[in-house]
């Protein structure tokens, strides 16, 4: 009951009870916010998609036994597909090959893979399921495809499964009497990966030793056997050079090289932020005088009110403060409205794949944290614009001759 009047109550009441007067200002702020937010959202989404795409490009080189090339001519030395996993093959070498490769310069990452077998698992898929062993610690070709990154390294007893298999994260699956927990599910790849189960190397060797897993005709898999080493070279290094250095010590291996580069795509994607930022800047520059004009008109309309405040003892600094704060509140309302509207539109467009098809780049919605960051940046920009645009009207209002203003008279 003894609550006193405060500035915020007064400002909010002024805004709430004069919606018409403030609508144009709020709309302007909402327009700016929507523009800035959209630009940053698209940049972030496209950039995230590009980064993820790079991660999912797999290996630059795949080192395999030399017999592999004879069998899989489609996966020859100049491979046109992303190198994510080795083809099912029984040609193997040992992890000792990796030891020799350690001396080759310009290699960033190496990770072994072993194909175990194709198994029929009716609970998971009507078609046979391929079983692979990977090293969860060094793997860089499979785990980037996870729908949700693992919060820990793949443990013994855990598997990662392809998208076409009917099991969910944290569910249990059984392979030849061994039970595993699904630690993660991969995004769709439209390749054989979708029908594949990946185990840690130790689990893979244990499973391979189980009765009936390997076809009788296949040579047994011993611990340390692998089918391929996936290799990532130092960015900017010549993969051909690395390729030849890997092959030098031995004729028993061959190196399959990815035959496409990411640079042209990268250049296309890099152009997008510059364009969107430029559009945002133009909108902001165009909107600034417009908002200043509207704020000036509102201040003019309220000159009698301001004169009255002065007659009540309001100092000029208080009048200045009131005009600025009211503008900031309007900016915040407009900013939130603009961001909310943009988010809703993007959510609908993204759900229908419209962004990906229109922008010609794979679009991935930014994370909640990313959206929060973009929202915060947008609101800061809009509020800054609001305060700059209201500086002159606030100054004019505070310097008004109070008695002239009051004597205009109004009910």
């Amino acid at each position: 009951m003894n609550r006193k009047m405060d500035y915020l109550t007064f400002i909010v009441a002024s805004i709430r009870n004069k919606p018409g007067r403030n609508l144009a200002t709020v709309f302007c702020f909402a327009f700016i916010a929507a523009n800035v937010f959209s630009a940053q959202y698209l940049i972030s989404g496209a950039s995230g998609s590009f980064d993820q795409g790079v991660l999912r490009m797999g290996a630059d080189l795949m080192v395999v036994p030399s017999q592999y090339q004879w069998l899989f001519r489609g996966s020859g030395p100049q491979n046109t597909a992303a190198l994510v996993k080795v083809e099912p093959t029984t040609f193997r070498f040992t992890t000792g090959t990796m030891d020799k490769m350690k001396n080759v310069t310009n290699i960033v990452k190496m990770s072994p893979q072993i194909y175990i077998a194709k198994l029929t698992v009716p609970d998971l898929s009507s078609s046979p399921v391929e079983i692979y062993g990977i090293d969860p610690v060094t793997d860089f070709t499979i785990q980037p495809w996870l729908q949700y990154p693992l919060d820990h390294s793949l443990n013994s007893g855990e598997v990662i499964i392809g998208n076409a298999l009917s099991a969910e994260r944290s569910s249990k699956i059984t392979l030849s009497g061994h039970t595993y927990t699904v630690a993660g599910v991969l995004d769709p790849t439209q390749s054989a990966v979708d029908h594949t189960i990946f185990l840690g190397l130790d689990d893979a060797y244990t499973l391979a030793a189980a009765e009936g897993v390997l076809p009788a005709a296949d040579p047994p898999i011993r611990r340390g056997d692998i089918n391929a080493v996936m290799v990532q070279v130092v960015p900017g290094a010549d993969p051909e050079m690395v390729n030849s250095r890997i092959r030098q010590p031995s004729n028993a291996i061959t190196v399959i090289q990815r035959h496409f580069a990411l640079d042209p795509t990268a250049r296309e994607v890099q152009g997008l932020p510059a364009l969107l930022n430029m559009i945002s800047a133009v909108v902001i520059v165009a909107a600034l005088p417009l908002i200043a004009l509207i704020a000036g008109m509102v201040a003019h309309e309220r000159q009698r009110e301001i004169g009255l405040f002065m007659s009540m003892g309001a100092k000029r600094s208080v009048i200045f403060f009131l005009v600025i704060v009211e503008s900031l509140v309007l900016a915040a309302i407009g900013g939130i409205a603009g961001v909310g509207a943009s988010l809703a539109v993007f959510f609908v467009l993204n759900a229908q794949g419209f962004l990906t098809s229109t922008l010609q780049v794979s679009f991935r919605m930014p994370s909640a944290a990313g959206i929060g960051m973009i929202t915060a940046v947008t609101l800061i920009i809009v509020i800054t614009i609001g305060s700059i645009a209201s500086l002159w009207p606030a100054y004019r209002s505070s310097m008004m001759n109070p008695y002239d203003a009051i004597r205009g008279g109004w009910r």
């Binding site: 003894n2 009255l308 003892g313 000029r316 004597r407 009910r411």
Partner: protein
């Protein structure tokens, strides 16, 4: 309370100098009910603005409780207004976006003491017979009701002086009577009142009356020396009250 000595206010209008207030001398004592009578354009509102420190005189000195207003900074004058002076205007001057109660509380925003709470505002509304309309917005109030709320607002910071600029100018005769009675009560309770008006019917409410014409101020004598009707203008309304 107020001493006005040789105050002049000149404006430049269309290349010529206009003396809105011309060498005015007068005094307002604590507890006075002073009426300044004059027709439109006589300079009475300009004089009122100078008394409140809203307008700076071109020449002369105005002292408020011994302090020379002209020597005070703008902020000090604002503080003086917030603490010592309550305003009532011809038009209600209520802020249309807030309720009657919030309008009454509004001056507390600008007072260094900030003493006016919601309960005090309600008491004042009750005092002026408006507590039942505390939550009403100004657009739903009659002219008389708005004036009552404006008077309550003028009182919220506990000022010693109430300055009223044509407070009954837009009211019918009955409402004018009610409002003037309210001013009379406030004066009896110790508030000093300085009121300007063009209505000679209000003279009986004041203990001292001045007349103002073309910027000159003269203490009222009988018969009153100034013509209250502009040449060719309408007759001011006459009332049989008080």
């Amino acid at each position: 309370m107020i001493e006005v000595t040789g105050v002049t206010k000149t404006y430049s209008a269309q290349g010529s100098e206009v003396r809105a207030v011309d060498d005015v001398h007068f005094e307002v004592k604590t507890g006075d009910f002073v009426l300044i009578l004059g027709r439109s354009g006589s300079g009475k509102s300009t004089l009122l603005g100078m008394l409140a420190g809203l307008i700076r005189p071109t020449n002369g000195v105005i002292r408020f409780n011994g302090k020379e207003i002209g020597s005070l900074s703008e902020d000090k004058i604002s503080e003086l207004r917030a603490k010592e002076i309550g305003f009532v205007f011809q038009f209600s001057g209520l802020i249309p976006t807030i309720t009657a109660l919030e309008n009454v509380m509004l001056p507390t925003l600008f007072s260094p003491n900030g003493s006016g709470s919601r309960s005090e505002a309600l008491k004042l509304l009750k005092r002026v017979g408006m507590s039942h309309r505390a939550d009403a917005y100004p657009r739903t109030l009659s002219s008389g009701e708005m004036k009552r709320v404006a008077i309550a607002r003028a009182l919220i910071n506990g000022p010693a002086l109430i300055i009223a600029d044509e407070p009954t100018g837009d009211l019918d005769v009955d409402t004018e009577y009610e409002i003037m009675e309210l001013f009379r009560e406030l004066n009896r309770e110790g508030k000093t009142i300085v009121m300007v008006t063009h209505n000679p019917d209000l003279v009986p409410y004041a203990n001292r009356t001045y007349g103002m014409d073309r910027g000159k101020l003269v203490q009222r004598s009988d018969p009153f020396p100034f013509r209250m009707v502009p040449e060719g203008g309408a007759q001011p309304h006459q009332s049989d009250r008080p």
